[in-house]
């Protein structure tokens, strides 16, 4: 026990700078992820709606956006946001992640809406529901329940992919870890830092996934099986 308390790892673990540095990194990671998800949901809905609009041109633009972006790596989008669009560190990460996530969410929305059988629409309309009422009471609820898993999964992915912002020196968790690894350079310390970072990501993402799973179970109970 004594040996451990005097070891370099213990020395590092008792230094507040470690926790402040990692803490700040974590805050930035969460901030970037949260902003990205919110923006992506917004834009994703817009693009999703564009696909369903009657106008072929608008629909095609939306489809093209989705098709092109989905085939590009996240790192590239972040790098482009930083170097080509010239956005400052944090925002380059946000916009880079948003560009990609928007395309994904647009697809999820399409999938969700598609999963509700056309019959439900027609039944609702024939019962006298207006377009909006049909949407709100009949179509959206099961569609939204179906969309929760992929959207949550995407949120978790955004948190993980924010680590790519390390290459542009944005002070998120991964980069802060690297900087601290410069100060605490001993092998045992470096490994400890990596382990702490892994556990942090794991804890957060696992918590989010679990909450979402519970939520989905709760929402699905008593709905019977609409769709699948």
């Amino acid at each position: 026990m004594d040996a451990f308390l005097n070891s370099p790892v213990a020395e590092m673990l008792s230094d507040p700078v470690l926790y402040i540095g990692l803490g700040n990194g974590l805050l930035l990671t969460l901030e970037v992820a949260a902003i990205s998800i919110v923006l992506s949901s917004l834009f994703g809905t817009v693009i999703g709606a564009m696909r369903y609009s009657g106008f072929p041109v608008i629909s095609q633009v939306a489809t093209t956006y989705i098709e092109v972006i989905r085939n590009l790596p996240q790192i590239l989008l972040i790098l482009v946001s930083y170097f080509v669009l010239g956005l400052p560190g944090k925002w380059a990460a946000v916009i880079g992640l948003t560009i990609y996530t928007t395309a994904i969410i647009a697809e999820v929305i399409r999938g969700g809406l598609n999963s509700v059988p056309v019959g439900q629409w027609e039944a609702a309309r024939s019962q006298g529901f207006s377009f909006l009422q049909s949407m709100w009471y009949i179509v959206l609820p099961p569609a939204v329940v179906k969309m929760i898993p992929p959207i949550v999964s995407q949120f978790v992915t955004v948190i993980k992919d924010s680590s790519f912002a390390m290459v542009i020196g944005a002070g998120e968790l991964m980069f802060k870890g690297q900087i601290l690894a410069g100060k605490y350079w001993r092998p045992s310390q470096i490994i400890t830092i990596y382990v702490i970072i892994s556990l942090t990501y794991f804890a957060i993402n696992f918590a989010i996934s679990t909450v979402a799973r519970r939520l989905q179970k709760k929402l699905s109970v008593g709905r019977g099986s609409i769709g699948n």
């Binding site: 010239g86 400052p88 542009i168 690297q178 900087i179 601290l180 690894a181 410069g182």
Partner: protein, 283 residues
């Protein structure tokens, strides 16, 4: 099906061109302004040249500095404050412009990011161990040198490496965008040895790679290496390719460059520069 695919591809290209055009224009505009500005007759005789006055008027001096180089540009991990010789130079510049120290906005840059940030107008100047080189002069404005350093090699003591020659057939880690790779290559060719390079985006990564043995040596300016020196490692006596650091600004901002040159010359003459270097254990 084929037709609409073609149409959407065309549309995508047009959109892409549009976006790039905007990005290109955004990068261009700041360069246009100083050239087209005319000294207005009714303004009181400006102390500062037009290009510099612009920055002063904006109320903020945006400076790119290093965050991980002790004595030059280092960011405190806990408070986020920057300190170092180059930070002090930035303060001196701001005050000379009539701004206060609080008006200086620092942005942490790396060897890779400092150039582009000048290009797209996000930074006014870069004071970040930026070496003056002929190719670079074509892309950015540089002042006269304010410090001279040389490229060095950091190795682990346990590796038993004593000089560059011992690195024959080994791997050297360098930063993307830095001059180290070419400098070392030139020296290696002179010695007739062969080395391999691995490029990383930031210094901490190279350091980690050195620690794990992924690279046998970490090569960059000695001033930067000093920040990563530990009990286990040593900076080799070899030093090559003298590196002159200059303050960089966007290409074409000649008035700004001349203004800073005046300041540097003054500081050299009245001993301020020596004082500054002594303060940070440099020179």
């Amino acid at each position: 099906m084929k037709r609409s695919a073609l149409l959407s591809l065309l549309l995508a290209l047009v959109l892409a061109f549009g976006v790039f055009g905007l990005a290109g224009c955004a990068a261009e505009e700041p360069a246009e302004e100083p050239a087209t500005e005319e000294p207005a007759g009714e303004e009181p005789a400006a102390e500062l040249p037009a290009g510099v006055q612009e920055i002063a008027d904006s109320g903020k001096l945006r400076v790119g500095v290093k965050a991980d180089v002790p004595n030059f540009g280092l960011q405190d991990a806990a408070t986020g404050e920057f300190e170092g010789m180059e930070i002090d130079l930035a303060y001196a510049l701001a005050e000379r412009m009539g701004l206060s120290r609080d008006d200086v906005v620092f942005e942490a840059v790396t060897a890779k990011t400092r150039g582009p940030l000048l290009d797209n107008g996000q930074l006014d100047v870069v004071i970040a161990t930026f070496t003056i080189k002929p190719e670079r002069l074509e892309q950015w404005n540089f002042t006269d040198p304010y410090y001279q350093d040389e490229v060095g090699l950091l190795v682990k003591k346990s590796a038993g490496i004593e000089s560059l020659a011992d690195l024959d057939g080994k791997v050297i880690g360098v930063a993307q965008g830095a001059t180290s790779r070419d400098a070392v290559q030139v020296e290696a060719d002179k010695l007739g040895i062969k080395v391999e390079f691995l490029e990383f985006a930031t210094y901490p990564e190279i350091n980690a790679a050195l620690e794990s043995g992924r690279v046998d040596a970490f090569s960059v300016d000695k001033s930067i290496l000093s920040g990563y020196l530990t009990d286990d490692s040593v900076i080799l006596p070899d030093g090559f390719s003298p590196q002159d650091y200059g303050v960089a600004s966007k290409l074409g901002t000649d008035e700004l460059r001349d203004f800073i040159n005046e300041m540097l010359a003054e500081m050299q003459e009245n001993g301020d520069m020596d004082e500054l270097l002594a303060k940070w254990n440099l020179g």
